[in-house]
C-alpha cells in the first residue's frame, strides 16, 4: 500500500505516543524508554502535556539514539496513535516512510490513513475487553498491551521489560504478574498476526555506560539536599512543583535523625510566591540555607523581595524552572524566557547571579554550588532550569560528591571575633571584594547587632539619606558583582577543527541540540567555535570570545534573544556582530533548526563577506 519505501533504521528513530491525559499511559511509555536504555541504547524522552488533569491530548516522544543525541530531533518515525482527538494531526506528522500504530478494534475509513506510511493495526480494545472486566484495569492494561506489541515490532528483548516490571512492582506480586501477562498478550498477538520486526529496530549496544536517567528537577532537589539546604518554601506552579516534591522525598529518606526520627529540614508550602521568598529570606537572614522553586509568574511576584535581597544583602536561592511566558503563557511548554527578568529583577539598579545548567548532572552541581555562592556573595542566586531539563528524564553522567567538601558559609563575624575587638560594619568592605561581614541574630550580648532594612544606610547599617553614602554603597555592590564573575561556573569553549572567524554562544537546555547541530553544520562546510555560557555575570572569557570572532551566533529559546541583549548590554559591544538565533514555539529547540538557521546565515555571508565589504 505504500508508495514510499518504509524507513529502515536500527537504534536511531523517533517514536511518539499520542495519548489522552489521565489515562495512565505515562508509566507504560516511560517503561518503553527505560526498556530501550536497558538494551544499552541511549534514549531521550520528552513529555508534551497540557495544563490539565484529565481528558486533553498528551504526547510522549522517545528519541532512540545510539549516537547519543539527547536533544529533540523533530519529526516522527513511528506514531503510536491512541488519541482519536488528535488523530489527523498525528497521522500528518509522520515522516514519509514512517509507521502508524493504532488500535484497530473499530474499522477506520481508508481516508484516515496515508499511502506513504506503514499502517499497523492491533485490536487493543478487543484484546483488553476479552481479558479484563474492570474498566480501570482495561484502561491501564491496554497501555501495557501496546507496549508488548511494540516490543515485538521493534525487536526488543521482552526479558528486559519484564525485569523493569519486576523492579517497579517489587513486593506486589499480583500486580507484577498481571502486568507481565498483559505484556505478553500484546507481544504474542503481534508475533502471531503481524510481520515482526518492522524496519525500525532496537539492537543491544553498549552506549549507555554508567550514565543515569533522571529528571532535572529531581537532580536539582538532590543538589539542595547535598548543598545543605534546610529550609524550603514554595508555592505550587508548573513546571517547578516537582522540585519541592522531590526535595521533600529526598529529605524524608536522608534527613531524619536516626535516633530521634526528627527532621533536619523544614518545608513550608507558602500561601503564594511572596510568602515563599519571604520565608527564604527570613531563614537566610537567620543563617540557614534556604531556597524556593518557582517559574515565571512566581518570579514576577517575588521581585520586590529579590530587590531586598540584593540591597540588604541577604542570601537566597531561587530555582526558576522556566516555561513559556509572558503572563500565564504556555504553562506546560519550555522556554528560556526569564533571562532579563531574573538578571535585572526588581526596581532600582539591581543585578543578580544566574546559573545555567545544561542537564540534570549540572543541575545537581549548580544547585549545591548555589548555596555556597548565595552565602559567599550574600545575595540571590538564580538556578535557571527550564521545563525541558526539569520535567523530562535525561541521560547524564552520574552525580558526584566529594566527601571532603565543606560548605562555604561566607563572611560571618562570630562572637569570638567580636570579642577580639574586630570592627564590625555590616556594609563595610574590609577585603576590597565588595563583600562585607554579617552576623547571625543572637550572636553576642552587646556587639554585632544591626538593623536590616531595605532603605539606604551607611557602612555601619545606620539609616542615611546622604547621597554620597548611598552612592558609596551602590558602588560597593558593583564591586561585589565583579567579584562574582570569578566565583561562578566559567564558560566552556570548544573550538572547531580549523581556525574560524565564526562562533556560537548557547546555554542551558540548548546544549544537546547545539552539540548535534555542530556535526550537521560541519557536514555543510561550516566551522564554528562554541562557547557555552554557564553563568551571569559573564566571565572575561566571554568578552575574549567575542573579540576573537567576527560574527557570533547566540542561540536561545525566547523571542527577544534575551541572552544576546544581556551580552550586548554588559559588554558594550556592537550588536551587529551578535546574530540572534531564536526558537520560541514552546517545543525544545532541535539540531535541525539550529543547523538550518546558522547554515543559511553562513551561506549568505559567503556570498557577501561583510567584513570585506566594509573594510
Amino acid at each position: 500500500m505504500s508508495d514510499k519505501k518504509p524507513i529502515s533504521s536500527v537504534n536511531d528513530f523517533v517514536v511518539r505516543f499520542a495519548n489522552v491525559n489521565g489515562s495512565g499511559s505515562a508509566s507504560a511509555n516511560e517503561m518503553f524508554a527505560r526498556a530501550i536504555l536497558r538494551h544499552g541504547v541511549p534514549v531521550s524522552p520528552r513529555n508534551i502535556f497540557p495544563s490539565n488533569i484529565q481528558g486533553l491530548p498528551t504526547w510522549y516522544e522517545v528519541r532512540v539514539t545510539e549516537a547519543g543525541h539527547l536533544g529533540a530531533r523533530g519529526g516522527v518515525d513511528m506514531m503510536v496513535a491512541m488519541n482519536p482527538q488528535t488523530w489527523d494531526k498525528d497521522v500528518a506528522g509522520i515522516e514519509p516512510g514512517g509507521y502508524l500504530f493504532y488500535d484497530s478494534t473499530k474499522p477506520m475509513p481508508s481516508t484516515k490513513f496515508r499511502d506513504d506510511i506503514t499502517v499497523i493495526g492491533v485490536p487493543l480494545t478487543a484484546i483488553t475487553n476479552s481479558t479484563y472486566t474492570d474498566p480501570r484495569q482495561r484502561q491501564l492494561f491496554k497501555n501495557i498491551i501496546y507496549l508488548g506489541s511494540l516490543s515485538a515490532l521493534l525487536d526488543m528483548d521482552p526479558k528486559l521489560i519484564e525485569q523493569l516490571i519486576g523492579e517497579q512492582y517489587k513486593g506486589k506480586e499480583k500486580l507484577l504478574s498481571s502486568n507481565v501477562h498483559a505484556l505478553h498478550l500484546g507481544r504474542d498477538w503481534a508475533l502471531q498476526n503481524l510481520k515482526c520486526p518492522i524496519g525500525l529496530r532496537v539492537k543491544k549496544s553498549d552506549k549507555v555506560g554508567d550514565r543515569i536517567f533522571i529528571e532535572g528537577n529531581s537532580a536539582a532537589a538532590l543538589g539542595a539536599v547535598y548543598g545543605g539546604a534546610t529550609v524550603c518554601a514554595w508555592y505550587p506552579i508548573t513546571p517547578s512543583s516537582s522540585v519541592a516534591e522531590a526535595f521533600t522525598a529526598h529529605c524524608k529518606k536522608y534527613r531524619h535523625d536516626p535516633e530521634t526520627g526528627k527532621a533536619k529540614y523544614a518545608i513550608v508550602q507558602g500561601e503564594d510566591e511572596l510568602a515563599s521568598i519571604g520565608i527564604v529570606i527570613g531563614a537566610s537572614w537567620n543563617g540557614a540555607r534556604a531556597f524556593t522553586a518557582t517559574s515565571g509568574p512566581g518570579i514576577s511576584l517575588m521581585t520586590e523581595f529579590i530587590g531586598l535581597s540584593y540591597f540588604a544583602e541577604i542570601p537566597a536561592v531561587i530555582m526558576n524552572i522556566q516555561r513559556a511566558g509572558p503572563s500565564t503563557g504556555m504553562p506546560t511548554r519550555t522556554q528560556q524566557c526569564d533571562i532579563i527578568a531574573c538578571a535585572y529583577a526588581s526596581h532600582g539598579d539591581t543585578k543578580h547571579v544566574l546559573l545555567f545548567p545544561e542537564d540534570p548532572a549540572e543541575a545537581f552541581e549548580f544547585a549545591a554550588a548555589a548555596f555556597d555562592l548565595a552565602e559567599r556573595l550574600q545575595t540571590t542566586i538564580f538556578l535557571m532550569l527550564d521545563l525541558d531539563i526539569g520535567m523530562n528524564h535525561r541521560l547524564c553522567r552520574p552525580l558526584k560528591w566529594d566527601d571532603a567538601r565543606q560548605y562555604d558559609r561566607g563572611k560571618i563575624m562570630t562572637a569570638e571575633m567580636l570579642e577580639e575587638g574586630r570592627d564590625f560594619g555590616r556594609y563595610l568592605d574590609v577585603d576590597g571584594d565588595g563583600i562585607p561581614y554579617r552576623t547571625y541574630p543572637g550572636t553576642h550580648p552587646t556587639k554585632g547587632s544591626y538593623f536590616t532594612r531595605g532603605t539606604s544606610r551607611d557602612r555601619y547599617a545606620r539609616y542615611s539619606e546622604e547621597g554620597t553614602v548611598y552612592a558609596d554603597n551602590m558602588q560597593r555592590l558593583v564591586r561585589k558583582f565583579e567579584t562574582a564573575q570569578d566565583l561562578v561556573p566559567r564558560p566552556l569553549q570548544a573550538n572547531a577543527e580549523r581556525p574560524t572567524k565564526y562562533g556560537v554562544i548557547y546555554f542551558g537546555s540548548t546544549s544537546p541540540a547545539m552539540d548535534e547541530a555542530i556535526g550537521l553544520l560541519e557536514a555543510r562546510g561550516h566551522q564554528l567555535d562554541r562557547l557555552r555560557i554557564r553563568a551571569f555575570p559573564f566571565h572575561s572569557s566571554v568578552a575574549s570570545f567575542l573579540a576573537e570572532h567576527d560574527f557570533v551566533y547566540v542561540v536561545e529559546q525566547n523571542r527577544d534573544s534575551q541572552l544576546r541583549q544581556l551580552i550586548v548590554n554588559e559588554n558594550g559591544i556592537d550588536p551587529v556582530r551578535l546574530v540572534p538565533i531564536v526558537h520560541y514555539d514552546g517545543s525544545p529547540i532541535t539540531a535541525r533548526y539550529i543547523a538550518k538557521a546558522i547554515g543559511d546565515h553562513q551561506d549568505q555571508l559567503k556570498v557577501t563577506p561583510l567584513r570585506k565589504a566594509v573594510s
Binding site: 545543605g228 527532621a263 529540614y265 531563614a283 537566610s284 547587632s449
Partner: protein, 351 residues
C-alpha cells in the same frame, strides 16, 4: 528632640533584673515618631515586658514590615537584630527566621496597613501555621506616613481628619486571629500600660502564635472627633474583660486577690499568668465564646480588651514539622549531606 543623641550614662542606682540588666539595656535608638504617638507607648511597654521577664536582649529577633509601626523595632532592644522588611511581609520573614533558629524569641511588629491590607494574607497564614511568635499590631486605623488615608481597620462611619466618612467595613484582626486558630489572642490600648505590659510578657511566654492588637492612636492624623481610634474614643469605649499579672518562675501566686476572681494559667515556659476577672462570665479558654462576645460588643461600639483567648498547651510550627531541637542554622555538612556512598546508591537506582 530626635536629633539629640541619646546619652549613654544612667543613674548608678538604676534597678537591675535577674540577669543584671537595667531598663536601659532594653532600650533602642531615640524614636523618630511624632511626640505623643501611641506607638512610643507600645515601645515602652515592650521594653518593660522584656526587662521584667529578664530576657537576654540579644536573644530576641524583632521583625517588622513597613510603616510607622514597623520603624519602632529600632527604638527598643538595641542589642537585638532587627529586620525592617517589606510592606506587609513581616509574617513570612519571621516564619523563615523562626524555622532557621527555634531558640530565639520572635517579636513581629506590624501596623494595620501592614497586616490588614497589603499583608492580610501573610498575617492570616502565619497565624494558621502556629508560628511561635509574638505578633503585635500597632493599630491606629490610618496610614500615617502617607498622611491620613483610611486603613482597613478604620470603622465604617468613622471620619478622617479631612472630614471624609469611611464607607468600607472594618477588619477586626482579633476576630480573624481567633477564627484562624491563634493560641493567644489579646487586645489592648497603648494608653493602658498597666494592661499592655503583662499582656506582652504573657505573649512572649506563650509557645505558639500569639497575637496582640493594640489600639494606638495616631496623634497626627487620627485623634480627632469622629475617629474611633482616638485617645478619647478608646478610653470611653474600652471594655476590659480582665487584667493580668505575669509571674515569672514558679513563685507562689500572691494572695491579695479576692477568692473566685482570679484564674491562674500556667504557660509552657513555666511562668504563670494570674487573670483578674473584670467580667465574671468571660472565659478566656473558650474560643467560640470569645468570638461571640467580641461580635456582640463590637455591635454596641465597644472595644473589648484583655486576654481574650489562650490555649496553654498549644503546639507550634516546629512541632508540626517535627524538626530537630538543634537550630537548623547551626547544622553543617557532616549532618546535612548524605555523602558520596549514598549518592553512588542513588546513581545505581537511576540506571
Amino acid at each position: 528632640m530626635t536629633y539629640i543623641a541619646k546619652p549613654k550614662f544612667h543613674h548608678p542606682g538604676l534597678k537591675k533584673n535577674e540577669l543584671g540588666y537595667t531598663h536601659r539595656d532594653y532600650e533602642g535608638k531615640i524614636s523618630t515618631l511624632c511626640a505623643g504617638c501611641g506607638h512610643d507607648s507600645i515601645t515602652a511597654s515592650i521594653i518593660e515586658a522584656c526587662y521584667e521577664l529578664s530576657i537576654e536582649p540579644h536573644r530576641v529577633a524583632k521583625i517588622s514590615g513597613i510603616g510607622c509601626s514597623s520603624k519602632t523595632p529600632d527604638y527598643f532592644l538595641g542589642n537585638s537584630h532587627g529586620f525592617n522588611s517589606v510592606h506587609g511581609r513581616m509574617p513570612s520573614v519571621l516564619t523563615g527566621a523562626n524555622l532557621a533558629n527555634r531558640d530565639l524569641i520572635y517579636l513581629g511588629v506590624s501596623g494595620d496597613g501592614d497586616s490588614a491590607s497589603i499583608g492580610f494574607g501573610q498575617f492570616a497564614h502565619s497565624i494558621r501555621r502556629g508560628v511561635n511568635m509574638t505578633y503585635i499590631v500597632e493599630n491606629n486605623g490610618v496610614y500615617g506616613l502617607t498622611k491620613g488615608q483610611f486603613s482597613a481597620t478604620a470603622d465604617r462611619g468613622s471620619k478622617s481628619k479631612k472630614g471624609v466618612t469611611n464607607t468600607d467595613n472594618a477588619i477586626d484582626l482579633v476576630a480573624i486571629a481567633l477564627q484562624l486558630g491563634a493560641t493567644f489572642v489579646a487586645r489592648s490600648f497603648s494608653g493602658d500600660k498597666g494592661q499592655l505590659v503583662p499582656l506582652i510578657a504573657a505573649a512572649i511566654g506563650h509557645k505558639g502564635a500569639s497575637f496582640i492588637d493594640v489600639i494606638s492612636p495616631c496623634i497626627a492624623f487620627n485623634n480627632h472627633a469622629g475617629s474611633t481610634k482616638s485617645f478619647d474614643y478608646v478610653r470611653e469605649h474600652n471594655d476590659a474583660v480582665n487584667r493580668l499579672d505575669v509571674l515569672v518562675g514558679r513563685d507562689p501566686i500572691a494572695v491579695d486577690y479576692a477568692p473566685g476572681t482570679v484564674q491562674v494559667v500556667e504557660q509552657h515556659d513555666g511562668s504563670k499568668i494570674a487573670l483578674r476577672k473584670i467580667d465574671a462570665d468571660y472565659d478566656p479558654h473558650d474560643r467560640l465564646g470569645a468570638q461571640t462576645f467580641l461580635a456582640r460588643h463590637a455591635a454596641k461600639g465597644q472595644i473589648v480588651t484583655g486576654l481574650l483567648y489562650v490555649d496553654p498547651d498549644a503546639e507550634d510550627l516546629h512541632e508540626h514539622l517535627n524538626t530537630v531541637e538543634t537550630p537548623l542554622n547551626t547544622l553543617e555538612a557532616d549532618t546535612l549531606c548524605p555523602g558520596s556512598a549514598v549518592l553512588d546508591k542513588i546513581n545505581a537506582s537511576l540506571r
